[in-house]
Subunit: 154 residues, 2 copies
DNA sequence: AACCATAGTTGTATAATACAACTAAAAAAC
DNA sequence: GTTTTTTAGTTGTATTATACAACTATGGTT
């Protein structure tokens, strides 16, 4: 139990620099990073990746558009759909935050005794898989249960 | 890098049942649990444990008081200070959510191959320590740096 | 008595998130 | 070709968590 609360605290600790770098939140960076990995990206694809409500995707992208880090265009195949691309400024910001994050991750790795690094990374991956599976199972398994109300699993 | 984003996603997955159980969020449960572990608890102690701003502690506790799960009293030693206690109803809700959580944690454990359980738990603990250390170091180490703005480490 | 520090609250604000309802476009059914 | 259904994304509304600044009231120090 304390692991989950520690997990939650650790992630908040991480996100506490909510204005993470270049006035970009961690979630916003995830979006920049996802869009950077493609010439352009469908909104539909983005909210699949983010695993949030479509409305949330719209809200998360809006400040990045407002700040001219991302530009939104009509998709060729469907006028309802939109595609996203990084602007020149968006690429610059993405690079800067990326460097920031790299050094942060490096300091995490350096804080782990070298002999334990491999098993730590394996351990956490196994745990995260289990956590996600358990969450998915809980939603499905408890469907209709009054005890728990669940959103769709990611 | 993807570990941190997976971590963030996993914790959100966990907290996605934000109305976790009995209409209590995960953070609210943490508070109930912390208060339950003591006959009564100082607010000052609570916000040390939560590692958030004092104002945030006030905000987090308010809905629990409003719903009569927690009661706030003046501390004996200092009229400015407040102490918190669970009500009878608060204890009932705590027990219910606790059971919920226990079965959730059990399903996480069951989702991990038995042979890997010990190393997974060790791995994640090592990682979380490193993450928290890295966060603290980053705030301290970068003090004054324009690149990163930091809140106080936890 | 005056000044400083502390405990907690309140005003203000941001970020993330979701549900319901909506518009407009595309796909399916007839 | 028309009608109905589905889909992509937006908007209204709302909650939760969080922090900074400023505040009041109380306690501690000089």
């Amino acid at each position: 139990m304390s692991i989950i609360s520690d997990l939650s605290k650790a992630v908040r600790c991480c996100r506490q620099d909510e204005v993470f770098c270049e006035d970009v939140t961690f979630t916003q960076f995830i979006i920049l990073d996802t869009v950077a990995g493609n010439e352009s990206l469908d909104m539909a694809r983005l909210h699949e990746i983010l695993a949030v409500d479509k409305s949330t995707t719209t809200r998360l992208v809006a400040p990045l558009i407002r700040r001219n880090l991302i530009v939104r265009e009509k998709a060729g195949h469907d006028s309802r759909a939109a595609t996203l691309r990084l602007t020149v400024e968006g690429k610059e910001v993405w690079e800067k935050v990326w460097q920031c994050l790299i050094s942060f991750i490096r300091s995490i790795q350096e804080a782990i005794p070298e002999k334990k690094r491999k098993s730590a990374l394996e351990g956490i991956q196994v745990f995260l898989c289990a956590l996600q599976n358990a969450s998915a199972m809980r939603c499905a398994g408890n469907a209709g249960s009054e005890c728990c109300r669940c959103a769709d699993p990611a």
